[in-house]
Each structure stands twice: as C-alpha cells, then as structure tokens.
C-alpha cells in the first residue's frame, strides 16, 4: 500500500500528488479502453462522415458545419391531408406525429430513402408506414392531430429573412410524392 500525502483525504484529485496507479493487468484494461476511445474518435474525425453515416458512437460531431445555401433553405417535408377537408394540410413535424423516430432522424432517413435506387417503392412504403402509425396513435389517443386521408411529400424553398415573417409561407412548394388511404 502506498503512503499518500495528507491532502489526499480532502480533495477530489491531486494533480500535484504522487500517482497511485493500479497493478499492471488492471492498467492494461484501462489503457485498452482509452485506446478504443481515442482511436475511434480520431478515425471518426479523420473520416468526417456526414450526419447519419457516422461510426456511432464515435463521431466528428459536425455541428453546424454542413454545407449552407446562404440565406435560403430547401427542406423536404411531409404534410398530412385532412380526411374531412382534402384541400387542407398540416405539416408533419411534431415529434408525436412521427413517433417513435425523432424529427431529425426521421427526415435524415427520408432523405436517404429518396436517394435509393428503388426510390418510388421505398417512398411508398415509408409514407404509408408513417400514415398508418399516425392514425394508430391518433385513434389510441396518443396525439391530438386531426384524422388524415393521406400524406404528401413536398420540396419547399424559402428566402430566409431575419424577421421570419414568411416562416409559414414557403416561396416555392413542389409535390414529390403522395400516398392516400384506399
């Protein structure tokens, strides 16, 4: 057993104190864990994978570093077509509507599906699944959304403004895909 300095009983850690390393076998385990953490993190930073393609749990943490379009934005978003009034639509962005996939993940997954070779078949399956889950959860009382008869995927375009006065009115709206209940 190693004698420790008197301060050892009071402080959380002691950068100035004599180190008290464990036995070699235990140190090997600790250093192996460190090696995995450091190695994985360095590889992730060097690879610099984009959102959704990372070496989870390692990541280059590309927070707010994605390519920008300046003062414009062009997201693809889903809208639900109301069953009682097909001329009206609601945006499907609330977490409760897309559950159990979170909003960010959902639209990253949808973007991947849009890039697939079998795009139309995959989009059909994805939107039908989303509509079915929305309705199941609505009937079960798990959200307060209105009944839907279909879902539409739009490409939206905005000219961004620092007053955000046009936040609910995109400059352009192009229908990409649509599913509806039989």
């Amino acid at each position: 057993m190693r004698d420790l300095p008197p301060a050892a009983g009071r402080l959380g850690s002691f950068d100035g104190a004599v180190a008290d390393p464990p036995a070699k076998p235990r140190r090997i385990v600790i250093y192996a864990a460190l090696l995995v953490l450091v190695g994985g993190s360095l590889v992730a930073i060097v690879r610099d994978d984009p959102y959704g393609k990372e070496l989870w749990p390692f990541s280059a943490y590309p927070m707010y570093s994605q390519p920008m379009r300046g003062w414009s934005a062009g997201p693809h978003r889903l809208f639900g077509v109301l069953r009682d009034d097909p001329t009206r639509e609601i945006p499907l962005i609330a977490g409760a509507y897309l559950y159990p996939i979170e909003h960010t993940r959902y639209y990253i997954a949808l973007a991947r599906i849009e890039r697939q070779k079998d795009r139309d078949a995959a989009l059909e399956a994805a939107l039908r699944d989303t509509l079915a889950r929305y309705e199941l959860r609505r009937i079960a009382g798990l959200h307060n959304g209105p009944p839907l008869r279909g879902i539409r995927l739009y490409a939206l375009k905005w000219r961004l403004d620092t007053s955000a006065h046009n936040r609910d009115r995109p400059d352009e709206r192009k229908l990409l895909y649509e599913v509806s209940t039989p």
């Binding site: 850690s13 385990v29 864990a33 953490l37 070496l55 990541s59 570093s65 934005a73 961004l160 609910d168």
Partner: protein, 324 residues
C-alpha cells in the same frame, strides 16, 4: 524517439498523475449516483419497443449491428431488454451489485441507444452516455455511497480511502467530452474555414431555427435568435467564441486554471444553443457532472473542509484490494 519520450520521467509522472492521482471514492460515487439517476430520468419511460413497429424501409443498421449480425429486433425482445436496462440503471444508481449492474447497463444501454441510430442516424448527445457507461462499468464506482458499501460495512470491512482507481474513470469521460468539442471545432474549420466566423453563417443558422418547417431540431425557447441575427457583429463574436472554446477544449485536460473557464464556457454555449436555436443536448449536458469535484462540494456544503476526522467509518488509505 517516441519510446524515449515515454521514458522521460517527468512526462511519465505527469501522465500517471493525470490518470491515477489519488482521488476520493466519494467523488466517483457521486458521479455514479447522479449519472445513473439522470439516465433513469431521461430514459426510464422511453419505450424503445415501439421501434419494432417501424417499417423495414427505415431500418439501416449501424456498423456495430452489422458487425455482430443483429437483425431488426422484435417488440418482445426490446421490451425485455429495456426492462433489464431500467433495473440495471436503478441498481447502478444505488450501487447494488454495482459491477454487474454497471456492466449490464453498458451492454444493454449501448444496444438500445445504438438502435436509435439504426433509424436515421444523427444526434450526438447520446454518444457520450455510451463512453461514460463503459468507463463506470470498468471502474470501482460502487466503493462508497452504495448498498454494496453498506453490506461491506456490516461485515466489518474498512472503508476504502483515496486511490488512483477513483480518478481515471472520470478522466476518461473528460477525454470523451474533449473529443466531442474538439471534433466539432475541427469540423467547422474543415467545412467553412474562417468563414465560420467572418461570414453570416451563424446568423443564418439562428434564422433557420425560427422557421418551423426548416429547422432540424426542437423549437428554440424564444425568438432571440432573430434579434441576434440582425446584429451581425455579435453573431461573429459568438462564432469566434464558439470556435475558441471547441478547439481550445483539450486544454481543459492539461491546465487546472483553464479547466473551469473552458468547461463552464462550453456548458453556457450549449445552454445558449438550446435557448436560441433549439437542439436539446439532454444527457450530454448531464455529463458535465463528471467535471464537478463532488467531494469538495459536499465538504464545503457541510463546512467540513480541513476536518477529515469526521469520517464515520475507519478508512484504509489507498486500499483498492476489495473491489465492489
């Protein structure tokens, strides 16, 4: 050359001091208690089994799942796994069968959190949890402030004293958080260069956050981001500050003076992002608890600084011979 460097006594001593400076077991135990308590709060009611009902078109397993050959799990399997995880989190929190409980928490937790990434990927806040759970699973975090310790005390076993065993697990979490911030800084420089500071990039992100159909995350708590975006110089100063904190964060590992400044700056930066831009860092924010010297906080709160004689149990200094 590098082998000779490692042999340099001063460097080696500094390395050993960083990882294995004698530390109070209370500090690590407080981290354990609060960390697992927080995980129970964040994930205790989350139903992972709902993911089983999502169509296979959304399923894109991450590399770990592909490596092990894990298929899209059924709801029944997920219900069992999440129930076991919740119990193991609770047991880890109170320190009951701590080694087993923290091990199960790590394995099952990594599976469930990894599963979220198989449906769209993205989100960084939960990665830190995996590293912290792994670190605590290898540690002796149940040595005190635990049911295990209570049982040992009844058997007459002495209370463990300060040891390097209670230092390295916390430092490992520090390193994980350091890579998160440093990686984020490198990514900004790589993709935008100094333009991240000198252009309107941050102003655009602030405005995007106020467009419900454009933003990629939760709604911000207010529209202050729009006001900030109209004051470009403030935005550029904030962008420069962000880059400084992120790229400079590794210094928090090396400098005791810079540590509180960098860590509190990073904390305030993330809180600020949540307030004006919306992203919810939930468990990542919670992981700042590993930077708090809980034993010192406790002693200051109790007014016992400099009075180690108040310990209710006999103490064996440096003893790590009976891992919990």
């Amino acid at each position: 050359m590098s082998r000779e460097l490692v042999r340099l006594p001063a460097l080696r001593a500094a390395w050993n001091r960083f990882w294995f400076a004698p530390a109070s077991p209370e500090n690590l135990a407080c981290c354990r208690l609060l960390f697992y308590g927080g995980l129970l709060y964040f994930f205790g009611t989350r139903d992972f089994s709902a993911l089983a009902g999502v169509d296979a078109v959304f399923w894109k397993p991450i590399w770990l799942f592909r490596l092990v050959g894990l298929p899209k799990p059924s709801a029944e399997v997920l219900k069992v796994v999440q129930t076991v995880w919740r119990f193991s989190l609770a047991a880890s929190c109170v320190g009951f069968l701590t080694r087993l409980a923290t091990g199960v928490s790590f394995v099952f937790g990594s599976f469930l959190l990894g599963l979220l990434y198989c449906f769209g990927g993205s989100g960084h806040s939960k990665s830190i949890v995996v590293f912290a759970m792994g670190s605590l699973a290898l540690s002796r975090c149940g040595a005190v402030l635990s049911v295990d310790r209570w049982i040992r005390a009844r058997r007459g076993e002495p209370r463990p004293g300060p040891s390097g065993e209670y230092c390295w697990p916390i430092r490992l979490v520090w390193v994980a958080m350091t890579f998160a911030f440093f990686g984020a800084g490198v990514s900004k420089v790589r993709h935008a260069g100094l333009g991240w500071v000198t252009t309107d990039r941050l102003a655009v992100y602030l405005v995007r956050s106020n467009y419900p159909l454009v933003r990629d995350s939760n709604a911000p708590m207010n529209d202050w981001g729009l006001w900030l975006a109209r004051h470009r110089e403030i935005c550029r100063a904030l962008a420069a500050g962000t880059l400084f904190v992120e790229l400079g964060f590794p210094l928090a590992l090396l400098s005791r003076r810079l540590r509180p400044i960098l860590v509190s700056s990073a904390f305030l930066m993330q809180v600020g992002i949540t307030v004006v831009m919306g992203p919810d860092f939930d468990v990542f924010i919670w992981s700042y608890l590993f930077w708090v010297p809980w034993d010192r906080v406790k002693e200051r709160v109790l007014g016992r600084v400099g009075d180690p004689g108040l310990s209710p149990e006999p103490v064996v200094r440096g003893s790590v011979s009976s891992p919990p």
